[in-house]
């Protein structure tokens, strides 16, 4: 009997060890993404056509199924709780009340939306799909509640190609009235040869206010559009691309304002130099628009490549300034306390070609009176000089450097006696450079004075802009 019990023990022991030692659970990995057995029966365009009254919330009550490829997700944070999808007919904003959607619906994923029960509306003409909810007593279009998303939205295959439609400003309707049914709205577009109007600063607000920021872009000064960026985008604090080139963005409208939404900074392909291609025969052009500026002291000295900006007397140099979205070079001897203020701003070498060679620029002279109106005249001088033997480096006033004074050919700003600055620039008119060949340098020399007392002050401010040399 004892043996019997012992053998029972042994059997129980062995059985336990073998039967249950594999208790640790193992799990198969689930299969990857593939398109579901769902067929879209309606195009995005057709769905959007059902929404005809701006501001209305149209609940969809039929078994409409659309599909599209995600063209913009919330990865960078520029979009929040929304996606843009598009099919061959158009694009649509999808409102989902959930974060980090890009985990499930990354760009390139095809998704299917069973629209019955959802609602389509527009936010000032940009259409969006969501649910109609009564919040605080009034109906609004809201994101699909996160736990209901899977009822309506079914994910399909990954990594579908996402190709932007290349469009022009005219394709977007220029400055005209927008059309809610425009098939480009909500799609990924590409515009070529664009640049930021001001290629400095960041994409969005980096302050605690976290305001959304509109930045103007234009195509060589015209055809302005807006790039709208959330302060919650992870690139909000990134400086805007300084160059010029193509931009990819989701095209949206807000009323008649055309707003582009980039997905991240890789959509901004401004890799060419900022300056636009110049008209034929233009040998040199500078409008200072690409220059860094500040709007208050201390100002940024003009420091463009190849330029010379040196004080011959006193220490004040030309600075880059901005006013009314225009940048220019600025010089004033006011407050220097020096009896002579002489400062040179010299262009890089300009290789002359052609037979009719012309220099133009424009100027503003400010503060010609000690007080305006009625003060003492304190006009400082501005000289326009040309040299053929300056080397581009070193003191322009050094011995042996020959400068020819062309000031007499130019019309300069007379200043204003009724306000501190004239309201507009004065065009210099054509200054004939036919006498010159080879490489020339153009200099703007400020000649002022600010000695003790006010008796012999020459402290007015000179602003120079749009310096251009042509040879035809």
């Amino acid at each position: 009997m004892n043996k019997f019990l012992k053998s029972i023990t042994a059997v129980i022991l062995v059985a336990t060890a073998f039967t249950f030692s594999a208790c640790k659970k193992s799990f198969d990995n689930p299969p990857g993404a593939a398109d579901p057995a769902i067929v879209a029966n309606t195009s995005i365009k057709a769905l959007k056509a059902m929404h005809t009254t701006a501001g209305a919330i149209d609940v969809i009550t039929t078994d409409i199924i659309i599909s599209g490829v995600v063209v913009a997700d919330d990865k960078s944070g520029n979009l929040y709780k929304q996606l843009f999808i598009q099919d061959a007919t158009g694009g649509l904003q999808i409102m989902l009340d959930a974060n980090s959607l890009y985990g499930t619906y990354p760009v390139g994923r095809k998704i299917f939306i069973k629209c019955n029960g959802l609602a389509i509306s527009d936010y000032n003409k940009t259409m969006m799909l969501g649910v109609r909810a009564i919040v605080a007593g009034s109906p609004s279009l809201e994101g699909i509640p996160s736990n209901l998303i899977s009822k309506y939205v079914v994910g399909g295959s990954l990594n579908n190609p996402v190709v932007p439609t290349v469009v022009t400003y005219a394709d977007l309707g220029g400055t005209g009235t927008t059309n809610m049914q425009d098939p480009l709205i909500g799609t990924l577009i590409q515009l070529n040869d664009y640049r930021f109007a001001t290629p400095t600063g960041t994409y969005s607000d980096t302050s605690a206010y976290k305001s959304t920021v509109n930045r103007d872009i234009n195509s060589c000064g015209s055809q302005t559009l807006i790039v709208r960026t959330s302060a919650y985008a992870n690139f909000a604090g990134v400086p805007v691309a300084p160059g010029r080139g193509s931009i990819l963005a989701i095209y949206t409208v807000f009323g008649n304002t055309r707003q582009l939404i980039i997905r991240d900074t890789s959509d901004v392909r401004f890799t060419s130099p900022y300056a636009c291609a110049l008209p034929p025969g233009t040998l040199f052009y500078e409008d200072f628009e690409g220059h860094a500026v500040t709007t208050a002291f201390p100002y940024v000295p003009v420091g463009l490549p190849g330029w010379t900006n040196l004080a011959q007397a006193a220490s004040e140099v030309w600075t880059a300034r901005t006013f009314s979205a225009n940048k220019y070079a600025y010089m004033s001897g006011f407050g220097t306390g020096q009896s002579t203020v002489t400062t040179w701003l010299v262009t890089p070498g300009i290789a002359l070609t052609g037979t009719t060679k012309t220099l133009t620029f424009k100027t503003i002279q400010g503060f010609i009176l000690t007080t305006t109106p009625g003060g003492t005249n304190v006009e400082a001088g501005l000289k326009v000089l040309v040299s053929t033997n300056y080397t581009g480096t070193g003191n322009p006033w050094a011995a042996g450097v020959v400068w020819t004074d062309l000031t007499s050919q130019a019309t300069l700003s007379p200043g204003s006696t009724t306000s501190t600055f004239p309201s507009s620039f004065t065009n210099s008119g054509n200054i004939n450079l036919n006498a010159y060949t080879g490489t020339i340098y153009v200099a703007f020399r400020y000649e002022g004075a600010d000695p003790a007392g006010t008796a012999s002050d020459k402290t007015s401010a000179w602003e120079v802009d749009e310096i251009k040399v042509t040879g035809l």
Partner: protein, 859 residues
Amino acid sequence: MSKFKHCFLTGILLCGLLPLAFSQVETKTTPVLPDTTIIETLRENAQDNIPVISLDESDGQDGSAQNISSQLGAGRDPFLNAATFKFNAVRFRIRGYDADQFNTYINGAPMENLDNGFTPFGQWGGLNDVLRNRESTLGLKSTTFGYGDLGGLTFFDARASYQRKQTSINYASSNRNYNNRIMLTHSTGLNSKGWAFSFSGSRRWAEESYADGTFYDGWSFFVGVDKRFNDRHLLSFVAFGTPTESGRQGASVAEMVTLANDNYYNPYWGYQNGKKRNASIAKSFQPVGILTHDWKISDKTSLLTSAAITYGKRSTTGLDWYNAADPRPDYYRYLPSYQLDPTYAEQVRQELMNDVNKRQINWDVLYQTNYAANDVVHNVNGIQGNDVSGRRSRYIVEDRIINTTKYNFNSTLNSAVSENISFTAGVTYQSQNNHYYKEVDDLLGGDFYVDVNQFGERDFPTNPGAGQNDLNNPNRIVKEGDKFGYNYDLNIKRGSVWLQGVFKFRKIDVFVATEHSYTSFYRYGNVKTGLFPNNSYGKSETMNFYNSGIKGGLTYKIDGRNYIFANGSYASRAPFFENAFIAPRTRDITQDNLKSEEILSTEVGYVMNAPKLKIRATGYFAQFKNGLDVLTFYHDEYRNFVNYAISNIGKIHMGVEFGVEAKLYKGLSLTGAAAIGRYNYNTRQSATVTIDNSSAIVDKDVTVYSKDFYVPTPQQAYTIGLDYRSPKFWFINVNFNYFDGMYLSYNPIRRTASAVSGLVEGSDKWHQVVDQTKLESQYTLDAFAGYSWLMNRKFRSLKKRHFLVFNVGVNNILNNRNIVSGGYEQLRFDFAEKNVNKFPDRRFYAYGINYFASVGLRF
């Protein structure tokens, strides 16, 4: 037959004498006489029937990998028995004390953790057979083996020569934490050459435990060797370990519990390919070795010296995610109450009710997200241009690991100077190192994870270092098994001496004791955290504390059956590491005002030991001053871990304990016990709020209006039972238990001036915000029965005596599935709307009807 009857009666006799054991000085356990076998067997099986309580989330990481059988061993005191066996359905705590107020020794070695004072009961779970020799004291009584904390002290004697010479095979079935248990024990007893050996092993397992998605798989082993050299020296060695793995249950919010229509709703699991997978798996294996030398220096003096070592890991897995939607199914934004429009609230409700995958973790979505997560990580390991591309997991299962090495040395001298005077002196040195870190457990279909902190990245987009978990290894790619995230060590050392004198006279016994200790600890950071580059790497300042305590007591013996006693104690106690560092995961900054807690306690009692009536009544009072605590939780608005460093915690615990055991008729007896207490905070606490990923202090020294709030354990617990012991070797007892005065643990920030600002004091809403939630009173009915069969009567060929022992215990017979056994308010508050239901409390439910049945063979 007659011999058998004789031993049974002997057992009864012994049993009757047992209550004497709570006289002031308890005697050491002597080897168990074989004659007591049956009664002991019945008693021991009662211990098996104690439901295993899983420590909950709010106990934090440290205790979470453990299961505890009971705070104390079964005592022989009618009150202590009830507290151990009957009050545990609702997380009853003796006198309302925290677990750190109880000490446990095994073979003379102190077992508690130095980081939080808890006893890691899980380290010897499943070894019931070899841990039956135990002494438990309650309260401030003197003992001969340790100075003791407020709550009491348990001393296990697991030495091989003290184990009953027998072989035991036991199988048990249950529907609690585990479904099956098999246990085997063999002890040789001391042989003629002075050797004794003892072996025990068990396995407890459940494919699925009581709550959905939970499982249990625990192995246990024990080896003991004794060598007696002569009458004076006994050298013992024991080693034991319990590699355990279990799927955990988490508390959830009432809204989800209702939707799931299951009070045992467990948010931790979800289906993966049709199988239930639990995201929170606790694993633990921390074997213990203890060497003990027992030296009888003279007839009157003995010295017990122990050295113990414990090492190993315990860990808990959980989900981690990087720039991805919260995967927890009961996240508040996924619930109907988050919807403002009732139409959608209803739709979400339907969806959650009808789709189990929405109520549970959707593993499939986590995998799909990772499959789609193609990404390029730049400048990996800080090397410019070192780019790695692949599927960067957005979701992973992480393993939060604590690797502990603990050793201690303890020596206790007991000397009876004269018939009336005895002294005990002890010296203890304890050292503990905890290494805290995380490992990637499962990439869930992705190729890698990156060791960065998305919150640091998000909050400081222009500071590329801010998001790094380790500036020394920026943008590190981590794969399964790699360490990531926080990584730091804690080192604690504690040395103490204590001295006790016991003076016994004819009518009066007196004892005095004092303890002096020195504690020092520091944090050592193994990574340089991007947000705290100057406060995270390397060794922190060392915190040193000198503490002392004094206690004493007096027993007046009215006659041989009636005693009155009074004990008192005053002590200071060093803060625990856990409560000293405000955010040890990321930095080495401590609470401002680190000082020792001061604890004053007294108790007065009456004991009656008549043959047919045993009564014990005790009144106690304890005051705690200058307590510290650190609470940590995830705040989804800050999207980060927020730490509340609480100081100036004062508490008063007072109450009475009452136990009675009355023999009514032959084998029938009545037992009753009551614990009626009042455990209150008596100070306004001070909270300093910090966020793990920001060096800014969110709130400094905010006053928490915590005065008069309750410590969340039942303030009142009662049991009454009938016990019948048949002379035919079976017994049954039935108990009715009643609990009242249970409260939720409260969120300190709801009791601050800013939380109620704008509310009319005394208005309903004000009360909603401020008042502590009282839970409903509860009752349970339990029964326990056993039968012991001496097989030799049937199988006369058996030479040794063989017993077949059957036991069955059924708790909560009325199947009350609505017993809230505890819970806690979320540590968040909707300051804007003052809506207490936005972040509702989370509650635990006691098991419905549950059983434990075992059959054992002993020979």
